[in-house]
Amino acid sequence: MRQFSQVYAALRRKNKGQYALLALCSFFSVLLITAYVCMMRAPTILSVLPEGGDSRKQVMMVFVLAVIGCAVFTTYAAALFFRQKSRETGVFLALGASRGQLRREMNKELTVIALLSCAAGAALGGPLAYGVWQLFRLFLVDSQEMVLSFDPQSYLLSLAFAAYVVVMLFVLGSRSIRRTNIIDIVQESHKSEPIREVKGWYGTVGIVLVVIGAVGGYLMPTFFVRVLHWYAPSGVTAIFYLPALIGLYMILLHTVVNGWRKGRQYRDIIATSQMRFQGRQTVRNMLVMTLLIAGAYFASFYAPMLSTSSAYSFDSRPVDFEYHYRNDQNWPQREEVEALSAEYGVDITFWAQEGAAVLGTDGTVSVEQDNGAMGATYTVEYREIASGATFFSESGWNALTGQNVEIADGTCANVLDDEGGSDYLSGGDVTLITNMVTRESLPVTPAEPLRFTMLLGCYVLSDADYAAITAGLTDCWQETYVFFNVSDVESSYPFADALFNEIVDRSGPEIEVFDAWDMVERELEIAEKGSYDYDSKEYLTANRLAVIDYDQRDSTEFRNYWLYMPQFRVLDQNDFVTTMAVFLMLFIFIALICFAAVIVISFTRCMTIALTNARVFEDLRRLGAPNAYLFHSVRGQVCRVFLVPAIVGTAAISAFYLMIMYFNDNRFTPGEFAGMGTCAAVIALCSLLLYAVYRATLRQVCAVLRVRRQRG
């Protein structure tokens, strides 16, 4: 051994564990971020996440969390690496090595570690995302829109993160050598991370701030819109969540430094005081873990919540089959449907068919004013004809729904949903109705609302009023609603599928429109400016709105947003997973990534604590501490790293989710209750997984500290 580089190589061989940990953390973080970015920016995914929509915001929010998490644990792994190397650096400097000499050798090492691990992470991130997606397709669900393609530009974000990792490694490496005081470097490994005093009120104030932040963050956007008539930029509304973040940090600080149970201060003195010395970094790690756990659960809840509440809504439909069509369309009539059912061996047991009319309704419209970076404001104007809605006659309504309502002349009843969970989707009360062909108007007063989820948003008039106001309507303003039941719903899927395809095949291009397309608004807009924006596919595409295409009839967009989408219970039940596949898989993927990051962070943090505390445990052993005491102290620390983020993260996201559901309509619907039950099962399952990781980590930490594991 004659060269300085050979000395470095020998030390590298001896400390390969440290190098492996750093390389692994760099690789893993770049891999996760690349996989996430590839998935998030994939055209397949973007097409189902509407611009400005909640889903996209949620995905972005969890992405930011994942980036922060990965950046923190990589930075920490690097800091730990240089701290472990500081003794070598100090010895070299003490023996007369120049800083330039050391920098050259370290840069060689870092170049290899950083470039190889980042390049491998970036290169494998795409295939990982693709592979996981293909596994989903293979084992869980597949649909025509699930063919995943990647946007090469998404790699720019991945490269940006990799660049951060590389720069961070070189900056930390250079800083570790640049220290002017050799004594500090030599003694670096004996330094602890002291924590500033944490007052006793931190925990309580933290909880209050979390509640304020969660409620404020959730309600302020509504306040802005409803009271200030301001669509604030997402950055402004996000600020109101800041107290929640600060509160979480305070809760964790209080938990780590002070603890909540004063009586156990001395029993847990080693675990508590050691955690104090590990304080700052541990709390930061725990905060990131808490946020990632919350993000993971948020993503995990999406699938069970949606599937349970959807399953509940499918089951609670009063009829098996519903479809409605404009009378100018050549849709299957009763005889044709019966013939098709006979062909598939399906027995139709009930049939109801009634006419309805599309009429103009009065109301308010929002006139928006774009304020650039400050979002948009709007003013509300009353219009005698604001939009369109579907109207039934009293007798038609009763015949169709089996209800027996009486609507007085001159009144109009709005139809809400059965449970009241989607009332906000209804058009609300109207006072003036207009026939868009004859321009005749009928003033009405609101009657007691009716309940029927499948006809949510429709209106019912008395027979006399209905006859008067619909006189002279042409076919395109009239609709037919069909309800029918079959004897064996479970076996009627082939028939339902055939009927659905028949309906789509026979639909004309004039109704190839999404659910916000409004015939009345179209009339008004054409009269005003000569065209209707929602008729233009270019406009819809540019504004990331649903574009309905008969050739994509199995896509999420078509099934969820076609204005004339039939409601066939068996079709919806069987095709639900396929229809929502992209959403479900994306959120499962996000949950997996977040949990993977949590596992890596918690494991590396616990191992760091073990390495740092090795001397303390050796001293305790010399002082005669029994193994049971040592095990209790080890478990106290490892348990805290896992338990606190798990409890706080789970509690915070559960409370937040409950809040969202409650404030949707100021109540919990049975569908939401069912969804919450499933979410509780998800929490139990994920907690079991975390517990398994905790056990494995505890085993590893005990092995490092040479402490035997004990029961109890």
């Binding site: 061989r13 070598e88 010895v91 070299f92 090595a97 120049s98 050799i182």
Partner: protein, 247 residues
């Protein structure tokens, strides 16, 4: 060979300034074995760190051979540490990933002066300090005394002008301490080394030619051993320490 004149050094801890060295002056001649003693906080380790070029002094002068240390830039100081100084640390500071022989050769490798002759010298040093049998072992496999003798051999590899030792017997039992002191004596007697050792141990100091006692950041007394017996010199040192304690 080493001349320290009116050396001052203070530390800032929060808003408080602690003046550790308040004008220390001393000199060490070639071939001397000098101990620096003093109670905790007297400034002996700070003095050693200043001489070692680890920390800069606030004022005063340190001249090593022809070099005035305050006038040297960082690279030149590194060269001084490598070529003109040898170090023996309290907790050895051997690199766990290198064998005993590789640790001894490390200053030569760092300085780029390694040659077959240097390797031969490393083997000679192993012979002199009685560690030939363990030269291919790693630090984790050898005893504390062997580690310290390895550290002394490492300090000698570049034939430095001065060996600086910081509490080098502090972590050792009496037998190992004696072995290390013997190593220093061998280094001086057989290899012509000049040694400056910081210690609080009167037993270790009693082997030196001269003892400089610091108190409150200044040289309180300098004691020459002369021709007297080691034990008598140790008694003299203990009396001096008792006197210093009384105030």
């Amino acid at each position: 060979m080493l001349t320290v004149k009116d050396l001052h050094k203070s530390y800032q801890v929060g808003k408080t300034t602690y003046e550790v060295l308040k004008g220390v002056s001393l000199s060490v001649e070639t071939g001397e074995f000098v101990a620096v003693m003093g109670p905790s906080g007297s400034g002996k380790t700070t003095l050693l760190n200043c001489i070692s070029c680890y920390i800069p002094a606030d004022a005063g002068s340190i001249r090593l051979g022809e070099d005035e240390l305050a006038e040297l830039d960082e690279d030149e100081l590194a060269k001084v540490r490598n070529q003109k100084l040898g170090f023996v640390f309290q907790d050895f500071l051997l690199l766990d990933g290198l064998t005993v022989r590789q640790n001894i050769l490390l200053p030569a490798i760092i300085g780029g002066t390694i040659s077959p002759m240097t390797e031969e010298r490393a083997d000679q040093l192993c012979e002199v300090f009685g560690i030939s049998a363990i030269r291919e072992k790693y630090p984790a496999e050898i005893s504390g005394g062997e580690k310290q003798r390895t550290a002394v051999a490492r300090a000698m590899i570049n034939r430095p002008l001065l060996i600086l030792a910081d509490e080098s017997t502090g972590n050792l039992d009496s037998k190992s301490s004696l072995a290390v002191i013997n190593s220093f004596q061998q280094a001086r007697d057989l290899l012509g080394a000049t040694i400056c050792m910081v210690t609080h141990d009167s037993f270790a100091a009693s082997f030196c030619n001269r003892v400089v006692i610091l108190r409150d950041g200044v040289v309180w007394r300098t004691m020459d051993r002369g021709e007297q017996e080691r034990m008598a010199f140790q008694d003299q040192l203990l009396d001096a320490i008792r006197e210093m304690s009384k105030g």
